[in-house]
């Protein structure tokens, strides 16, 4: 087998960036995805991508970006990693510009910048309100070029099932399934990169795409990869509630001057501006989401008593809105029926992003040799809370690290022998047997209904407010759901494009991942970033300035939780407040 043969699972921003880096280094990529990579979830990112371009006369610095990110993440992010990301950001923007991303421009044709939450300087580069779509397309186009050159082989509509290790416990391949023909195949590689995105669908209704189910992450967790900081789930403050999904209303709305309010004593109350005078509507997401929750649930001041508040753009000139936010305003009109240029939008917080994910080192190596992870599926960069417009950045940046690191593995003697035919056949057979067992399930439960229950449970107990007693209850319920999974009845017994059977397999992975989130939340007795426990309202650096590590216990199917030190040597932790200016260097 020729060297430098890398498998990349996931064709979003991170997977495509890694693919390009691998091709540029002379490697070849097998690229696996649930969907044509151009339809990956990165395209749902709207508001922009942070980079210190310093073109607005504010003396912005990459250090300030670094400090904002660490502070915004409540000091739980690896600081060397974050610093590297912030320093590279402006170079990535120049690369995307050369690739033809149609960024929004100033009158003189330079890249425009906008405000975003948790940052005082204009630092967010954007393409209208569809920045993720445009960045993803640019990388999709570059990867297509490599495909034409024969360096990339796409396996679109293939589902990753699991990794395969050699005798030295090094990851040297994967098993995947063709989602149409249902054929299951085992593949060799020198190294494998997972770039499979977040686990939002575990929560049922969320802002994520239906493909963001965390199933691949759960699969490698069950094979020995550690998960870091899984309890940190970002709740986006401004989403349009929906019964099928909550649709994101970009933070760019607030960045462009949108105001959040509700009625109090018959008058509009701009509660973020009152509570946080220094940042106002531009507080980070965890802060804004908690405030909206408090106003609606504890104070009962939601619109008409419901869990909604206003996100108001109606005071901003329509032409300006059209140019800066057009795409999402159209979406709001389409799905809700009101015109946000004329009337305030009605929004409520929603599960949006996972700061946690597969534990990786600063080179994006997981705890399994030659298995790498990058993008939302890893735990790096965001600590306890992610700043808006840092996700496109971390996705792209992490791909520039994981790709070259995979190449390094492919050139190293440490990867040991390639998989034997017997090892491939055995791994494949296990997956075939598992799939046949699923097809033959004849129990009473409907998988989609069970998933609905899972989502309700997770939304209720593992989001904005967490209470230990309730988390214990939630864990108990999750175990029951896991037991009920075995009693699923599969309606579709066919072997052609059987989406139901594949969903059943994903669902089990989702339930096991849900347990990781729940247990990690239960164990962290403090409040930090997106993780808030009224019983423990303060941050406890003494005990919990540590990464949560979850590893799978095959006996109980539950995670074992431990804590690991991480690098916070560059910026000393200080109290995180947004009612007054941030301070710091």
């Amino acid at each position: 087998m020729s060297k430098k043969n890398i498998i990349v699972v996931g064709g979003g921003l991170s997977g495509l960036m890694a693919t390009i880096k691998i091709c540029e280094a002379g490697g070849e990529v097998k690229l696996f995805s649930y969907c044509p990579v151009k339809r990956s979830h990165s395209l749902c990112a709207q508001g922009g991508i942070n980079a210190c371009m310093n073109t607005k006369g504010q003396n912005d610095t990459t250090w300030e970006h670094f400090d904002d990110t660490v502070y915004g993440g409540d000091f739980l992010a690896d600081q060397t990693a974050v610093k590297g990301m912030c320093e590279t950001a402006p170079k990535l923007i120049k690369m995307f510009d050369r690739m033809g991303v149609p960024f929004t421009r100033t009158a003189e044709g330079a890249l425009d910048l906008r405000n975003f939450g948790g940052q005082k300087n204009k630092r967010t580069v954007f393409a209208g309100s569809t920045t993720g779509q445009q960045l993803l397309y640019a990388l999709d186009e570059q990867v297509r070029k490599w495909e034409v050159k024969g360096k990339v082989n796409k396996y679109e509509f293939w589902e990753f099932i699991k990794i395969i290790k050699n005798d030295k416990k090094v990851c040297r391949g994967i098993v995947a399934q063709n989602m149409n023909s249902m054929e299951i195949e085992a593949f060799r590689a020198d190294a494998v990169i997972l770039a499979t995105g977040g686990p939002g669908v575990i929560f049922g209704r969320c802002t994520a795409s239906t493909i963001c189910n965390g199933s691949a992450v759960s699969a490698v967790y069950q094979q020995g990869a550690e998960i870091g900081n899984s309890e940190f789930i970002q709740i986006h403050p401004t989403a349009i509630p929906g019964s099928d999904k909550n649709r994101l209303m970009s933070e760019a709305c607030r960045g462009e001057g949108g105001r959040i309010w509700t009625y109090k004593d018959g008058k509009p109350w701009y509660f973020l501006e009152t509570m946080y005078p220094a940042y106002g509507n531009l507080v980070p997401r965890d802060i804004a989401a908690r405030a909206i929750y408090d106003v609606c649930v504890n104070q009962g001041l939601g619109i008409n008593g419901e869990n909604r508040v206003y996100l108001d753009l109606s005071h901003i000139p329509a032409e300006y809105l059209e140019r800066k936010l057009g795409g999402i305003l159209e979406m709001y009109s389409e799905f809700v029926g009101d015109d946000p240029r004329k009337v305030p939008m009605q929004i409520y917080p929603s599960v949006h992003y996972s700061m946690g994910g597969i534990w990786v080192d600063t080179k994006h190596n997981t705890s399994i040799p030659a298995l790498l992870a990058s993008g939302e599926c890893d735990y790096q960069y965001h600590g306890a809370n992610r700043l808006g417009a840092n996700s496109l950045l971390s996705a792209a940046y992490s791909g520039t690290i994981s790709g070259p690191e995979a190449i390094r593995w492919s050139e190293s003697d440490d990867i040991g022998d390639e998989l034997t035919d017997e090892q491939l056949a055995a791994a494949k057979q296990e997956c075939v047997d598992e799939f046949e067992n699923i097809i033959n399930m004849n129990g009473k439960e409907n998988a989609h209904k069970l998933h609905h229950e899972l989502g309700d449970l997770m939304n209720r107990y593992c989001t904005i407010v967490r209470v230990n007693k309730e988390l214990d209850f939630c864990m108990g319920e999750l175990k029951k759901i896991l037991a009920r999974w075995s009693d699923i009845g599969v309606n579709d017994k066919g072997h052609w494009a059987n989406q139901e059977a594949m969903f059943v397999r994903q669902l089990r992975n989702m339930i096991l991942y849900a347990m990781v989130i729940c247990k990690a939340a239960r164990m962290r007795d403090e409040s930090r970033g997106a993780h808030y426990k009224p019983e423990f309202p303060n941050r406890d650096d003494e005990k919990f300035l540590k990464t949560t590590i979850a590893s799978y216990d095959p006996e109980t199917h539950e995670p074992k939780i431990t804590y690991r030190e991480f690098d916070h040597s560059l910026i000393k932790p200080r109290p995180r407040r947004y009612d007054v200016a941030k301070g710091g260097k």
């Binding site: 044509p36 151009k38 799905f335």
Partner: protein, 250 residues
């Protein structure tokens, strides 16, 4: 208790690429703001037809449910559109769902649109850069030209325009409006235009822009409101100019 309001669906199904299509009818509980994808999800939870017959869940493709990914395009009451953005309140019942048969059917409403991605290779749908490493800062761009590029760059390869176009199909090899217009996008870029001739020449070949019959259906159905016919006309002019240039340069 009042009777549960339902939505009536008639769905054209097909078990495999070569098998015969058939229809099944479903009643889905109504709720405000219900869209077609959400209704299909309800059928997954309770795959029982209107007549009480147990069946398999309907197969379709979807991802984002926000009209950005392009996956859930299907024919709804005779018109190609995104299922996620089709609210049942806005279309008359019974709601007919069918696969977009311009493309090979995989199963039920799921189709194979790989031909569109292949066409993007043909028109060289990318900017030729030396590499992802640092080179020069990209040139500034006229913000008006950039705004045009931004409009075209919204194309999500959903295939509505190919489904609506009378010249796309077995009778013609036209690659269709979407991939054709992408050539115009890359020709707008400050150094994307260095390869303009290549792209225009690719559109002179079989299935290129001369196969466009100017029926203007595409612009009517584009879910992103891209002015497809405007850019097709512009491209047509560019291709003609290039053709003349090719003759004189011989």
């Amino acid at each position: 208790m009042s009777e549960q309001k339902t939505v009536h669906f008639i769905i054209e199904r097909q078990d495999s690429p070569d098998s015969k299509p058939y229809t099944e009818e479903f009643l889905v509980p109504y709720r405000p703001a219900l869209n077609v994808v959400a209704a299909l999800m309800e059928i997954q939870k309770n795959p029982v037809t209107k007549d009480g017959k147990k069946t398999t869940p309907v197969v379709w493709e979807c991802n984002c449910l926000e009209k950005v990914c392009g996956a859930c395009m299907m024919v709804i009451n005779g018109k190609a559109r995104q299922a996620c953005a089709t609210l049942v309140d806005h279309v008359p019942q019974p709601i007919h769902l069918a696969p977009a048969r311009t493309f090979p059917v995989i199963r039920d409403l799921q189709i194979d649109r790989s031909v569109m991605f292949e066409s993007l290779k043909r028109i060289q749908g990318w900017i030729e850069i030396d590499g992802s490493w640092e080179v020069n800062t990209a040139p500034i761009q006229n913000p008006y030209t950039a705004a045009t590029a931004y409009e075209i760059a919204h194309c999500m390869t959903c295939g509505c325009c190919l489904e609506a176009c009378p010249n796309v199909g077995p009778q013609s090899d036209f690659i269709g409006p979407a991939p054709t217009v992408q050539a115009y996008l890359f020709n707008l870029h400050p150094f994307g235009k260095f390869d303009k001739e290549k792209r225009l020449n690719s559109l002179m070949e079989k299935g290129g822009i001369t196969s466009c019959g100017n029926s203007q259906n595409c612009v009517q159905v584009c879910p992103k409101n891209i002015k497809l016919t405007t850019y097709l006309a512009q491209l047509n002019r560019d291709v003609n100019k290039q053709a003349l240039k090719n003759i004189f340069d011989k």
